[in-house]
Every structure is written in structure tokens, then in C-alpha cells.
């Protein structure tokens, strides 16, 4: 009972507009506003990508990309660009001051977007260790952050975040 429809990288040609609209040419058809969904965003971010298009105004899954490794470097970079903005999760490089005030956590963090104080509510839900060594954080504004490798952090930052894992 194999219901998985893996799409071959040879049959897919993606293009990405400046505004981030992903288009696809496949089987002689052209689709705009294509959606790629990471099925296992934490374990396999570059594998098991569901390809969804709109047909007659309804979303429809065309099939699944097993791994991005099968694509040409250009196509891979293009799809990664799309996934990068859709799953925009800046990595936390350093944690400065952490203050807990009545169940809310105020954390000074440094990410690719610079320094920022983020506020986290319901700490147990919004700071989660998703893999052995990585952490997902969601602040009160809905922004997501990631710590990709706890071991790669400086000791001070690691000790600070471990308090909440």
C-alpha cells in the first residue's frame, strides 16, 4: 500500500520570483504559487518536501520530493531560498541577560538580524528541545528562533538556556 508519490528531480523545474513566488514546470504544465512543506522540519529539513499546487482554486498535493540532494546546485539553491524565507528561523548565536518576570522570560539574544530583547510566554511550551542538541523558541510576537547546536554555544549561553529545557 504505497501511497507516497515521489517526484523525480529531473521532472521538476522550479523558478523563484523576487517577491518569493515559487513556480514549477512539470509534465508540460506550469504552476504558480507552489507551496513546499517540510514534513519533518526538525529531523529532515532538506528531505521529504511535499509539493502542493492550486488547481481550480483548491490546494492539491502533486507529490513529494525525497531529498534536495538530487537537484542541480542552481535548483537546490533556489528551493533553499524559498524554504529559508518560509521557515525563517534565525539562529541564536549568543544569549545575554535573561530575566524572568512572573512567568514571562525576557532574553537578550544575538541573531543574524542583530541584537534584540525577546519576550517568551508559557516557557514550557515555547522553549522546546526538539532534537538532542537543538532548541526551538517562539516569542510572544510569534517569531521563531533556533539554537541549532547546544554544544556549539559558548558555556555561558548554554548554561543560561539549559535552565529552561
Amino acid at each position: 500500500m504505497n501511497q507516497l508519490n515521489y517526484l523525480s528531480s529531473r521532472e521538476l523545474t522550479f523558478s523563484l520570483s523576487e517577491n518569493g513566488i515559487l513556480s514549477l514546470e512539470t509534465g508540460g504544465k506550469h504552476y504558480d504559487n507552489v507551496q513546499l512543506i517540510r514534513i519533518f522540519p526538525f529531523q529532515h529539513p532538506e528531505e521529504y518536501l511535499s509539493v502542493s499546487v492550486r488547481e481550480n482554486g483548491e490546494p492539491k498535493e502533486l507529490g513529494m520530493i525525497r531529498t534536495l540532494e538530487d537537484f542541480t546546485p542552481e535548483q537546490r539553491e533556489l528551493v533553499s531560498g524559498y524554504l529559508r524565507y518560509k521557515y525563517f528561523i534565525p539562529a541564536i548565536e549568543k544569549i545575554g541577560k535573561i530575566e524572568e518576570k512572573l512567568g514571562y522570560l525576557y532574553m537578550d539574544v544575538t541573531t543574524v538580524l542583530g541584537k534584540k530583547t525577546i519576550c517568551i510566554s508559557d516557557i514550557t511550551t515555547n522553549i522546546r528541545q526538539v532534537q538532542n542538541n537543538s532548541v526551538a523558541i517562539i516569542d510572544v510576537q510569534g517569531n521563531r528562533y533556533a539554537i541549532e547546536n547546544l554544544d556549539a554555544l559558548d558555556k555561558d549561553t548554554r548554561q543560561k538556556i539549559e535552565l529552561y529545557l
Binding site: 517577491n19 525563517f88 524572568e100 518576570k101 512572573l102 512567568g103 514571562y104 508559557d122 514550557t124 521563531r144
Partner: protein, 727 residues
Amino acid sequence: MRFTSFRLEEVKKLLGQSPVYSLDFNLDGRGRPTDGVCAVTEKELVIINGQKVNFRCSLDEIGEYTTTQLVGSGAFGIIRNGEPIQLCIFTQDLLNSFAELGKLLDYHRETGIFPEPGEDDNNIRICPKCGSIIPEGTNICFHCEKKGKYLWRVVRLSLKYRWPLLASLFATIAIQLLWILYPYLQGVIIDDYITPKNQDFSQLLVTLGIFLLIPLVIMFMEILNDRCTAKVSMAVGHDLREQLFRKIQEQSMKAITKRPTGEQIKRISNDTEKVQQFVAMYGKEAIVRILATLVILAVMLATNWKLALLVLIPVPLAILATQIIFKYIHRKYRLVWSRFSQSESTLHDILSGIQVVKAYGSEKREIAHYADYSKRFAQSMYRADIFWFLAFPIIGFVATLGEYFYLYFGGQQVLIGALTLGSLVRFAGYVGMIYGPLRWIIQLPRYIAESAVSAGKIYEIIDEKEDVSDRSNPVDLKIKGQVEFQRVNFGYKVYKPVLKDISFTVEPGEMIGIVGPSGVGKSTLINLIMRLYDVSSGCITIDGVDIRDISQNSLRSQIGVVLQETYLFEGTVLENILYAKPDASMEEVIQAAKIANAHNFICKMPNAYNEYIGNKGYKLSGGEKQRIAIARAILRDPRILILDEATASLDTETEKLIQEALARLTQNRTTFAIAHRLSTLRNADRLIVLDKGRIAEMGTHEELLRNRSVYYNLVMAQRQTTKLSKE
């Protein structure tokens, strides 16, 4: 809300005019940081990325504005000629702003007017004092709020019981003073009577009598103190638990569901217990012991200031060490609290789902699961305690160094005759007495911090702003049953509308079926009628009165609900039926059960209506629970009835019984029924078909079938499924 770009001057130059609205976005189509602006002029919508115009479109061509929440970002777009076009991408914190921009532009499309942006309650606000984010659902800036403020509120609450509090305070002060008197008398006895020069035995006996009387008075004072303290602390604990529970009960569904049940239970039980302890022990004792320490210090300095200073040399050292250690200990005990909370939640989760655990035979996995959390809690507690037990004796040792100084220098002074033996003994008493309270005071910050965190957590809920509250003069309406939706829009999040532009009128006594695919907003619609949530725009009226003007109590007391999953409370059948109307007579209960087709099965149970049905009614089948729920609804005699998948997941025979019961129940009542199985709604006067959050069509079963639209397709799809399952 602010709709002016930080790059306004550049935008003006690029466009050659000043935009009406301009909003910055910060990501490009490859997920890289960028400086973009979405600008709206009188005629156009323009997207600027860096220094160049990427996209421009006349406002007249735009059919709809869309704000989409992606996983880690958001996107703003338009629909032009039926085609969606994504225009710009931004981080999630800008999602609300773009959703608001979309609303303003929607308004402009309809009216030709560019409205002034207003303040939005749903929006994340910034504290004017410290610049930190003020989270949704609260007005408190947790960043600059002082923790002591909450303990002070506990103190103020204690003042409600001022007489026992004053009595216990008086008793504690008396006890401390009598203890101070004790070493003084010791010194007097040694210096004045236990010397060869004084043979006055009668005076000695009187002094010894007083000496004996002191512990006796102390004993009585302690009894008084304990009784009064217990009275105050229990009363404060009770008051807090009650306030907290009442607040949780009065909260909207949105507020209640945002915290896990285990967390709420912990706040009601554990946190109030901690605050109770604070009142019983630390609050009052702290004041008294600090006072006692000051008095003893004064007496010591008056007796021999040089010796007193020697004894006190290590005290600053001990206090400094305490402060440093406290900084670390607080973090460690915070971790203990969090691990305990996780372990409790896990336990709650596993025990609530024990049926699934058993069904999948995953007991061993769950044991390991819980053991892991329990171990993590134990380890954190062990580490914190190890740290504490290591730090505490070190501070203690430093603090008691003074006692050695006193023995060495004090002994020397007695030998050279500069100090009497009695004074030395008295001094010894005071030294012992000053280090006792000091050690206690050293521990105080830990207890105070724990109590402050708990008090804060309690008051956080008590102070929470109600998102669905009664207006200042709510009406107690006797409902006839006319329900009207007027251009209702609703979304749990501002950028995610669930119901869009819903308008319809239901006459009293009508039965309305609500149908549509899953996730289309059917349950949301009935939640709005019950006012579990408030509409985002538009209004709902009952008998012509806006439901926000009707008191929630009056509204809900006239609405009956039968859900797919019936929740029965622990207790008997009778208690569960009476839940709807506690003052109902026994005849009314039996009548209701008969109408609900429940009477027969109830009579078959050994204790009939007094049968204990266990936790969540586990002794009953799904159909039986459902009939009790219907009996409950009948007893309430509601004017508006809501049936949410009331007959789903039942066998045909039971469904027939329940359908019969429901037919009796819905007579002459305005009824809203949701059902997946469309055949169950055949008796409805009218059907509302929802599709993509909007009303797709409305009419009787026959009318809708003739329309051959959404409803027709749903019916055909279901017939096909039934046919297939029969085959």
C-alpha cells in the same frame, strides 16, 4: 498603530509624493534580510525593495488584500483579476501590522476613504517605561514590574484579619523581648547572688522565681501566637484560592485554554500554599526577628561596645556571601520549579489518557517517560539542595567565628577584671541569640523569593484583563429566540479570519442546520452565539439586543448545549442531571430523563438515579452519556439550543433513541445543529452552508439540492461513501 515607514523621506523621493500608508518589510524572496517598503498612495500600491520599485499596481485593480502566516515569516499580497500575487515577506512580528493595513485598504476599497489607523487591542504593545514587549492578554509589563509589589498585596490581604494578626504580632514581640530578658537575669544572678559576698537567699529565690516565670509566659505566648498565625494564614490561603478559582471560572475560553490544566491546578494548590507559608512564617517573623536583632545589638553595644564589635566582625562577610549565593540559588530553585511542573504535567497527561496507554499496551514506555521527567526533577532538586547544603554551613561557619572572638577576648577581660563573669555569661546568651536570627535572616531571601514568585503567578491570573467582559450596564434579557448575525467577521488571530462577512436571521423556534467541510468555522459560529469569544467586527443580536449588552450569566443560562463529547462530573446520575438546574424537583428530573429516553436505562442500574457513575461517567456508554446530557439540557429549558455533532459516533439503534429525544427537545426552541451526517439534519427548517469561512448558500434541504452547488456536492459525496461502505 503606526503606518509610516522609517524610510519615509526616501520613499517620498522615489514616488514623487507622500504615501498615505507606508510599512517596512524586512525579508526578500530568498529569506535574506532586506530594507523594503510597502507604500500606498492615493492611486497605487507600490513595493520598494532597496532603492528600486519592484511592483506597482492601481488600487482599482485590486480585488482583495491577503496577509498569510507562513511558518517562520508572513507574506502580504493581493488578488488581482482572481489571481493571488505575493508582494512582500516579513518576520512574524509585522504580521499584525500588515493584517491591519489590509483591513484599512479593504475599507478604502468599499468606501473610497482612507481611514485613520487606530489602536488595536490585539496588537502587541510596548511598555512606555522600559521599552519591553507587553504580551497579549495582560496590561502588566512583567519586565519592570516589582515582585515585592505582589507580596505587599498579600500583606494587605492579611490585614483583613487584623485582630488575630495583631495578637500574633504582640505575642511574637513579647516572646522575643522575654528571651532578651533571660540572659540579663542570668548575669544578675551570677554577679549579685552567686558570689561569696552576698548571702541574701530570699532575694535570690525571688529572682529565680522570675527566672522560672519567663519560660512559662513564653509558652503561653507561643500558644497564642500559633493559634492566631494559623487562623490568619489559613484564611489568606483560602481567600487567594477562592479568588483565583473564581477568576479562572470567569475567564473566557481563549484565556482558559492558553494555560495547560496542570499549570492552573498548580497555581491554585501549590502557589497559594507557598503564599500561605509566607504569611504563617516568613512575613511576620521577618519583621519581628529583624527588630529583635536590632534590640539585642543595642543591648550588646551598651554592655561592652568593644567586645560587641569583635563579635560582629564576621557579620558583613556572611551577608555578602549570602547575596552572592542567593543569586545562584534562585536560578537553581527556578529550575526545580520548572522540572516539578513538567513532571506534574506529564503525570496529568498520562493518567488522563490511561485508556489509550492501556489500549496500546504502552505502559512500559509511559513508565520510562514519567521516570525520565521524575528523574530530571529529582536531579535538579538534588543539585539545588547540594548547593544549598554546601553554601549554608560555610556561611554559618563564617557567621559564628564571632563566638570564638568573644570567648578569647571576653575571657581575657574577665581575667584582668575589666568585665564581670555575669556580664560575660549575659554576653554569651546574646551572642547565641543574635546568631540564631541572623542565620534565619540569611535564609530569608530564598523563602521570600519563592513566595514572591508564587504570589506573582497568582496575581498574574487575578489581574488578567478579561477579553470577553460584561459591559457597564448589562441587560438581563428574557430570550424569545430571534438570532441575527450582522456582517460578522471573526478570527482567533487578526491575520487569520475564520468567519467572513456572515449575515443571517433566525426566527424564534426555527431549527437551523450548519453544514460544511471540516475546519470551515461551524463550531466557531456557535461559540460566538454562546459568546465564548467576541466578534472581531459586525454584531450578533438576540431579540434585537447586541449579545455584548446582555449579561453573560443571563445569556448562557438560556442556552442549552449538547456536544459530541459529553463531560459528566464525578458523582451520581441525579447530580449530573441536576447540574443544569440545581433546584429542580425530583419529578422534573424524571420527566427530563423520560423525554431524553434515559429513564429506562437509568432504572436498570442498581441504584437507579443515585447510581455513582464514576470519574467522567466511565461506567456509561457513549449513547447513555449523551442521553444524560440531553436530559440535562431539557431540564434547563433553554430558549436557544446548540447541538454540536450530538449524534455522531453512535450506533443506529442508539442514534434512533437520541434522534427521538432531540426531536422532543428542539420543539419550540431556536436550535442550531451541526452534523457531519447530513441525513440527521433533514428535519431542519433551514440549512446554512459554510465554505471557506463564508456563507456559501442557505435554504431548505430541497432548495439546496435543487441549487446543485456546495450542499449538493456534500450530499452526493456522502451518498457515495455510504454506498461504498455498504458494498
